[in-house]
Symmetry: D2
Subunit: 330 residues, 4 copies
């Protein structure tokens, strides 16, 4: 039985906690921090009995093999460094950090520490993405020529979050950059991006945008077109199309239900699932099961700190392209 | 060049006339009857120069090889008999007649006359039905087990039409009986039907119904479920599913257009095409091209008077089943 | 915290057990019977610590408020009677029994015992069926005219199971009868059924069939067409269409994944989910949460023993119709 | 009755000729040039009786009101100039010319000549595009934010054609540039393009590519992503998505038929319609009917020489962007 401590009990922290308790028979979260009074009921129901005020205390006092880092991004660097030093295995929510040098440092620390590290690029573990990847590997579409991603949120985050998020490219598009690398199987050599503020939130005040179109050119020749929006009326739009020599493979949106209504106005189906918690529910479960299985078997998780570094490198280049209004080489 | 005369210039007559003039390079309609003043512009535009008051006159005076019979059903018997006697090939709109003995007589007359005869079961020439049939023949679904047909009109015909139509089973379901025979490749041995009047039109006053569910049992074991309605809010619903040992093959409804709208209420597409004129536009074209090609080559049309007789036999048994509230053997 | 005992640790028993442990925060399974050595690991992992050889022992010795009856059908009657006598609330897998009088007796026993009783007609709790029902109630399609259900299993059960199952109508179609009552909101007055053996399993030797078409006529006039098959090549086919005055509402099949491949042969998507465990995963979770919530609130579960009785009554009439080759009035 | 002469009897010339003869009751093609022996049967069947060796002769001798120019692109300029001088109305296949100055000259000539001129951007008359445009105008998606177009041919044209085509951007993408202008309702201010040769045809030898991704930034802020390919395995891929404040409106591909096969490998439908002749059949009919109606009413066609000029301007900027590997301002 692998024992976990978790830092951060916000929305995504709770998702990870429930997934370990419910679906990982060979693992259990036994410790949490920082614990406030509003967490007590939840932790009790889930059998998490060791409560700490700080990550340091938890690392020192709890009987744990691994940590789940679901704290705010600004703390990730510190928490990873400390956990690695304490020889705890790490599951860390994305991003590792918004600063390239700090992430680079984490890559080294993780590599030399001997611990297992998994970065939370959960979409790789979505069953539909997994099937898309499997079909790509099986050669169903042949070599990659064009990859198209539409990734649109139902609503923007609060301004307070935006300020510290690194902006749309580092916060939101970064998932699409990881997807692109994962599916194209090559590295980016050139990027160009355009963006705009269309919605009510005055994102320009924070040097940010709510809508973007991005082109990535990969070393193997594949050309990637991404569009992102913070405002999507019909739910969380998450579509990927891989176009190759022999055909096209795409993931469709999942809808809230599969009921079809036909009436005098035509045919109607439900909206796309609302947001990432609903749409990627299975991916969060799968990535945690995968991480626990790696710990169990002593094998290495497949989403590394280096994957975080490479996605960040693309995001920073895209941000630069947008600001300098020109293509940027990596 | 095959020369045609046409009797009947109503809605379906015009469809056939235009299809010959536009799409049959080796045929032309040169004569029409009965011609009234309101037809003159249309006939002139389409180059139909010989006009007659009666079918007899047309048969006698026009220089024609074949006739298209698109007159009211009550005249079909007489027109077929006369055309066969005059050795004109015949394309006849369905049904031949509502009376079994009279249709049986037509079968004999056609067989002994040496003329070519095609019955207008146009759905067999719908490209989607043709592909369904081709997939069935190619064994894509294996042997037939269950066939399901939903066939629903957007609105009932006028009461005046209903009175003389033979009722829902003979007027509307008969297409589905022909489809069943065509796709199952066997003959019906037992039928049972239920029906009701749900809509505003007082069809019960004419011993008729607006909604029915019908089961046909075929000699080869295949079981067919048909549902019919005179009131369908979303257009002309025309779906067929052939379920066999190896899978299922179905035709989907055609929509008015292929535009997809996604908004806060979900996803929306257009209604099904409105009615048979729109839905089966291609089938009307194809059946006429096919008939003309048969005449051209001297081969025999594939939809015979006997097909009309067999479909009628099923329809009459179904009607009896509904009235006597019991299964009827054929 | 509501404490449960469970009888029966087969496939469906395990589904219910996991759903209580994982998803019902206010309930826990603490006792199980009959426990064999092969169950020990599973029970330990799930924290079920009280193990018994028999249902009697469990009822007597375990500290429980309610039981989940997932034993073979032949034991349901006995287990319900004993649990009711012991004043334990009951969640019982379908069917209650294959014998009408015994189920009728259970209805009385449950009604007079004062316990809460929920029958496992899980499909009512499928999110897609729930949305279909909600749309029906909201009047999106108007009053019911025709209901169509296709319900086809991927493969037949073992012969040994078939022998004691009551046959296709009592074992398999009964779900569709419950669905029909649930969605139409009326009671059946007449049924007629046809059936055949198409597959390799010699079901005729056990007076059974593998394929059926069934018509149900409801008191409110709605006509229902059901088709069932034990052999469906593309997974578990579960489609319902409710057709009414204002339109049509249907549930589509859920696929194994939402990946779309386009290649030189056309467009391809995954099969339907394999079978009930996969297709109705959410319904099993939801029905158990619902039952626990009823216990918690002291309210009455919505799927009653009487619902089981009424579905059985339809099934027995359908079986009679098939055997006697005639319509049967209820 | 409007009388037409046509120049060019290749594939697209024949499409236009048939559409006038079949579907325009108020127009007729009476003259054609240059007529060779292999055209005689076709022209006779269609009732085109005046045959000429050259465009000059046809303009001088034929009794015509208007011309359809379906000659090779290299002759368009000359034919337009001569027809305008002869005061014949003009329907001209796209493109007017590959040279910006020459097209600009045509714009002036057409404007001062007083004739009616329609450029063959037929896609605007596709019923699905028309419905998309109507939905956009009705505000179904709100103001434009992102427009996505996938436009992929089933196979590249012969090398001999490619050499004189102006390359992928001027020959193929130009339709997408016109679509973008038409749907966004604004003018392009910046473009950037990337391209590659992936297929067997050595297009690089002709300074051409077979695959491209293009970004257009419009003055109203809308960002457009286009991808083009000369090699598409599943037919002619023609998808447009208009994404705006209130939702998304898209046109789906039309398939060769609407048959759905479900078998052990999943669900299968037909390929997309093969190429432009099949996919845009209705658009060719509609644009000709529209042109004839404008002549009949004396109103001005909606696709002007200026539309050709503006699309060409975008195409030339895109070509420059590709060659100079940088964003280009218009």
């Amino acid at each position: 039985m692998i024992k976990f401590g978790i830092v951060g009990l916000g929305r995504i922290g709770k998702v990870h906690l429930l997934n370990v308790q419910r679906f990982c028979d060979n693992a259990q979260i036994v410790a949490a921090c920082p614990v406030h009074s509003e967490h007590l009921d939840f932790l009790q129901t889930q059998g998490v009995t060791e409560h700490f005020d700080s990550f340091d205390e938890m690392l020192e006092l709890a009987d744990i093999d691994a940590v789940i880092i679901a704290s705010p991004t600004a703390f990730h660097f510190e928490h990873i460094v400390k956990a690695a030093r304490a020889k705890k295995h790490i599951f860390c929510e994305k991003p590792i950090d918004l600063n390239f040098e700090k992430v680079n440092e984490i890559v080294s620390i993780v590599e030399t520490s001997g611990i297992k590290f998994m970065l939370g690029f959960n979409r790789r573990f979505d069953p539909h993405v997994m099937q898309l990847k499997a079909s790509v590997k099986a050669g169903k579409a042949g070599a990659a020529r064009v990859l198209k991603i539409s990734s649109r949120d139902p609503a923007p985050p609060p301004v307070e979050f935006v300020k510290h998020s690194g902006g749309l490219f580092l916060d939101m598009s970064i998932h699409d950059f990881d997807m692109s690398r994962y599916l194209v199987g090559s590295e980016v050599k050139e990027v160009i991006a355009h963006g705009a503020v269309f919605g009510d939130l005055p994102l320009q005040d924070y040097d940010d945008i709510d809508t973007a179109v991005i082109t990535l050119i990969f070393e193997n020749g594949c050309m990637v077109q991404i569009d992102n929006s913070r405002y999507n009326s019909y739910g969380y739009d998450q579509r990927i199309e891989y176009f190759g020599e022999k055909g096209s493979i795409s993931t469709q949106n999942l809808k809230e239900n599969e009921v079809l209504i036909a009436d005098k106005d035509g045919y109607h189906t439900a909206r796309a699932k609302h947001f990432f918690i609903e749409r990627y529910e299975e991916s969060y479960r799968n990535i945690m099961i995968d991480f626990v299985n790696h710990l169990d078997r002593g094998s290495s998780p497949t989403v590394t700190a280096n994957d975080g570094l490479k996605a960040l490198k693309i995001a920073l280049a895209v941000k630069q392209s947008f600001k300098e209004k020109r293509a940027v080489q990596l």
